[in-house]
């Protein structure tokens, strides 16, 4: 039996990563429309926020420029990390192809994560297009310091890990029920609201803020962007990163747990 080193493991997964990446490019029209769409929506979003701020200097301590930039960056991030079909797992379960996946020499979790990672990379042009639009409209703000920039990039990586894990967790409901359309929508739009992709936590009602900050979703988009805009310092900054990391670990453990039960289900009940 061949030795399973880290490097052979990674080579094994490269295929799945590439499959995800290429599946984005295979539907060229989808990607092009995605780009056009983001350009239009970023523009409209900028207008909405600017109009909202007419007559206000600051709301909840946040100025117009920051709010507008936040909206654009959040839209770009979301477009990259949240494709309409964020996992092929439900479809494969439904078609009974999951058995084949489980025979493969890599764990199903890493297969799916690699593929989702590839899909994200394939969608980077979308984010770039949104960013360019934002820049053209003078709506993007750079971080205050290089440190903020570096830390927010680390924070974004943790946010992406968080999203990938939760996406896969939610997709795994497919092992228990065939019709998961409703659940997917619930998750997609619920998380868009709770992650701060639509509205930054700054503007949420006071009673809602503590609830949201105890959920894992705010670690996806709100956390890295709040660092980007320099609203966190010192202990707050470190605490944010620590919380993000903790969420990723907890979620990953949960994923293993759920996966174990799913395997049990497939093996014992025949899917």
């Amino acid at each position: 039996m061949p030795v399973d080193t880290l490097s052979t493991r990674l080579t094994g997964l490269r295929g799945f990563y590439r499959a995800g990446y290429q599946s984005v490019l295979a539907y060229r029209a989808d990607l092009l429309f995605g780009i056009v769409g983001l350009v239009i929506q970023a523009t409209l979003t900028v207008v909405v926020w600017r109009v909202l701020f007419t007559g206000h200097d600051q709301v909840a301590g946040i100025g117009s420029a920051t709010a507008v930039a936040y909206a654009v960056l959040a839209a770009c991030l979301q477009a990259v990390v949240m494709p309409w079909q964020f996992s092929s797992l439900p479809l494969r379960v439904m078609r009974g192809q999951i058995g084949v996946d489980m025979i493969r020499p890599r764990s199903l979790i890493s297969q799916n994560l690699a593929q989702a990672g590839g899909t994200m990379v394939g969608r980077l042009p979308l984010g770039a297009a949104g960013l360019v639009t934002g820049l053209a409209l003078g709506a993007v703000k750079a971080p205050h310091s290089v440190l903020d920039l570096l830390v927010s990039v680390v924070s974004m990586a943790l946010g992406v890990a968080n999203i990938l894990t939760i996406n896969l967790l939610v997709s795994m409901t497919a092992f228990w029920t065939l019709e998961i359309g409703g659940i997917m929508i619930l998750y997609r739009f619920g998380s868009a609201f709770l992650s701060g992709a639509l509205i930054p936590l700054w503007f949420m009602p006071e009673w809602l803020q503590p609830i949201i900050s105890w959920l894992p979703f705010q670690a996806q988009i709100y956390a890295p962007l709040s660092i980007w805009f320099g609203t966190r310092h010192g202990a707050d900054l470190v605490g944010t990163l620590a919380l993000q990391l903790a969420w990723v670990m907890v979620l990953f453990l949960l994923l293993q747990l759920v996966w174990r039960r799913a395997v049990h289900r497939v093996v014992v009940l025949g899917g």
């Binding site: 429309f33 309409w84 359309g181 929508i185 868009a192």
Partner: protein
Amino acid sequence: MAEQVKTLSPIREDLRASRILLRAGWRAAMSYRISFLSAILGGMVLQGTQLLFIGVLLAKFNVIDGWRLNDIAFLFGMRLAAHAFYVVPFGALLSIDQAIQQGDVDRYLLRPAGTYLQVITRYAPLMALGDALLGFGAVAVFAPQASVDWTPGKVVFLIAALVGGGLVETGMQTFLAGLSFRMTSTMSLRILADDTITRFSGYPLTMFSRWGFLSLTFIFPMAFIAYLPATVLLGRTDDLPIPAWLAYLSPAGGPVVFAIGLVFFNRMIRSYTSPGS
């Protein structure tokens, strides 16, 4: 035995067929009972986040482009209810790509009923019930609070506008769905249209500048869905860079846009290349 039926007009025949097919669709949907609740909840959440969004923002900002919370809420409610008039009867249009890629359209072309009709009755869009619940609920709650002096005439206008708005959205989606006969997939295009409508058709559209407004009226006719009729009800037609009578006629935009979409869709069926078997 089918001799008498041949004399029926295609429209009556389609109405009959739609009753039969809808019943089949609902029967199939009910065979997966568990999904019922989650689907309806999904539909409510999808549109609900937009309502939440606008609610949270207005709690902080109070006005958008001179519109106060109560009128914006009413405008959003109109848009939600109009959307329900699209998704409840026509929601299955969303699956046009699958219908084409899996060759289900083969079957539709072989049966004595309209192809479009069979596409929209492919399955019962359970989620749409959530949309409807939320949309009609929103109108019922926000209409009395809007700055409108309700008269029977205005109520009739509102209902016509909601149905018309639904047909505008249907027409646009039908047009885009027609492109699926030529292109591998138009899902992203249709989601883009849907998403843009979901997110932006509930604003006073004149805020997007003169040209923005004109394109959203005449090119991507989103303004007909809720904004134009709302300016009539709220007495704000002076805001518009177009003649007021166009806003008064806006409910009629629905049938027009729908007819254009349907004619295009039916024309595009000729380009159908059934997947190889």
